[in-house]
Amino acid sequence: MLYTNDAYTPFEVEVVEFIQEHHDIFTIRLKFTDPAIDSKYFFRPGQFNMIYLYGVGEVAISIVNDRNHQPGRFEHTIQVVGRITKGMAKLKAGDKVGIRGPFGTAWPMEEAKGKDVIIVTGGLGNAPLVAATEEVLKNRKQYGKLRVLHGIRTSDLLIYEDMYTRWNNSPETKVYMATSNAEPVDNGKWTWGKGFVTNFIPELGVDYANSIVMCVGPEPMMIGVAKSFIAAGVKPENVYISLERSMKCAIGHCGHCQLGAQFVCKDGAVYPYPACEELLKVKGL
């Protein structure tokens, strides 16, 4: 983390570009206004930042980029859900926001080397795994097969379509997408699949015993995905998921993100599934 003298105070960044991905999803491309800070800023796939909207507050948002991102630029894809994100939806290029970070654990990019990599996402869960996917593609030889599975409710909710097409055309890589709601909206144009992402398990053509699964989505979905892939032969310790809990400070002081003894902000958000399997079974923990 950028940690000059106070872990609580953000640094100024500028919105370089505002991209409306979908009616309530947008991406902001940011750069630090102080080049000195920018040169120190380093993150790993899976980590997140606290983004501060002037006069309103901070939210935890995953970093979309891989670690070899274009220097001086990084992106966040944000879904409008509540007070702060609604406010952020009105940002435009040139506006300034605050950033603290990066925080949290990262995807197991080292452990994944030499293994087949299965990226499984649901809804906006694809944003936190863009970085990991790109990382594999940039260091293609060090990894085995890459499978990207993405599930959404209806086809109109798809974002990053260009990126998926590009990935699908990359070596040793295949993208699988499915909509869970009965009829895709733009009937005919939707060339991907239907149903749940776990339906693809039989056709992925990977060595499950030597695969690593990275999954982000709603909690019940992640649990389902983890169970299915373990059943298919993936070692439980090779299944990784990323959790979301309320966060105010992101540095393990505010107590909001506790899950049992875990502080999701610093002990997570990325966890090997066995580390939180039992905790996720308890209602209201």
Binding site: G55, V80, K86, A89
Partner: protein, 266 residues
């Protein structure tokens, strides 16, 4: 309007109106008593209607209509509908506007009972009153959609200014849903229920007053309405344990915010 759109199209220099229905005027004073903020605010917005402070244009098109008071008369309903029609957003301030306020104690009277009240207070010409009077005092939201609410009897200047500030930033005002106990403890106040045996509604009342009553050594009487998930049943049991009669307990909950759904419970 989808939740997403809320406050999306707010003018750079919004027009604001302050309206009054049945009330004591005390919530509007949150503006007037903090005159410095009011003057500052008037550099950012156009206050087109605010009878108590001067400007008058009751049915002008506005971005934000701030409404105080409850609806007690037929005439009020009509006026309220006109105001809502001309306002992009409606912000209700205070117990009267949000739960009906203290005058909603009339809602416990049946027709006959209300008639006896009307005749008791207005012995001459009661028919004028009866013709206009509604049987109930109800919150604004009972008649028109409301976008934002600030609870309190009265609300504080801080609440009002920060709500308007948030709206100007294009975000919803923050809601405070914790109990009075939270700010009571933050202020280092000694709990009046524990140390003085004073019955206190603090544990079930929404925070926002900075635990004003306990800071004066007395129990809270719930003027900010219910906190979220208030455990009314457990507090009533505590009051019984303290020796309060059922009538005393009923009066505690049927007071400033008697119609607040969150304050109901055995």
């Amino acid at each position: 309007m989808s939740a997403h759109d809320k406050l999306l199209g707010l003018a750079a220099r919004p027009k604001v109106a302050v309206h009054k229905f049945s009330s004591c005027d005390g919530c509007q004073l949150a503006f007037i008593n903090d005159a410095v903020s009011l003057l500052e605010l008037s550099t950012l917005v156009d206050i087109v209607h605010f009878a108590e402070a001067g400007p008058l244009d009751e049915f002008a098109e506005v971005d934000l209509a701030i409404i105080e008071g409850s609806v007690n008369t037929k005439h009020d309903i009509h006026r309220l509908e006109m105001i809502r029609e001309k306002a992009k957003y409606v912000l209700c301030i205070g117990a009267c506007a949000i739960t009906g306020g203290i005058q909603a104690l009339r809602n416990y009277q049946d027709e006959k009972g209300l008639l006896s009240w009307q005749e008791g207070v207005y012995p001459q010409r009661t028919d004028v009153i009866i013709a206009e009077d509604l049987p109930t005092a109800k919150p604004i939201s009972a008649y028109v959609p409301v976008d934002f609410e600030i609870p309190g009897c009265p609300i504080t200047s801080i609440q009002l200014v920060s709500a308007v500030r948030a709206i100007l930033f294009g975000v919803e005002p923050e809601k405070n849903v914790d109990s009075v106990c939270v700010s009571c403890k933050h202020a280092g106040i000694t709990c009046v229920m524990v140390a003085k045996g004073e019955p206190c509604l603090g544990p079930v009342t929404a925070n926002g007053c900075e635990a004003l009553c306990p800071s004066l050594g007395r129990g809270c009487y719930g003027c900010f309405g219910a906190s979220k998930y208030a455990n009314i049943k457990a507090l009533k049991q505590q009051f019984r344990d303290m020796g309060l009669t059922e009538q005393q307990i009923t009066h505690k909950f049927q007071f400033i915010n008697s119609q607040d759904a969150g304050l109901q419970g055995e």
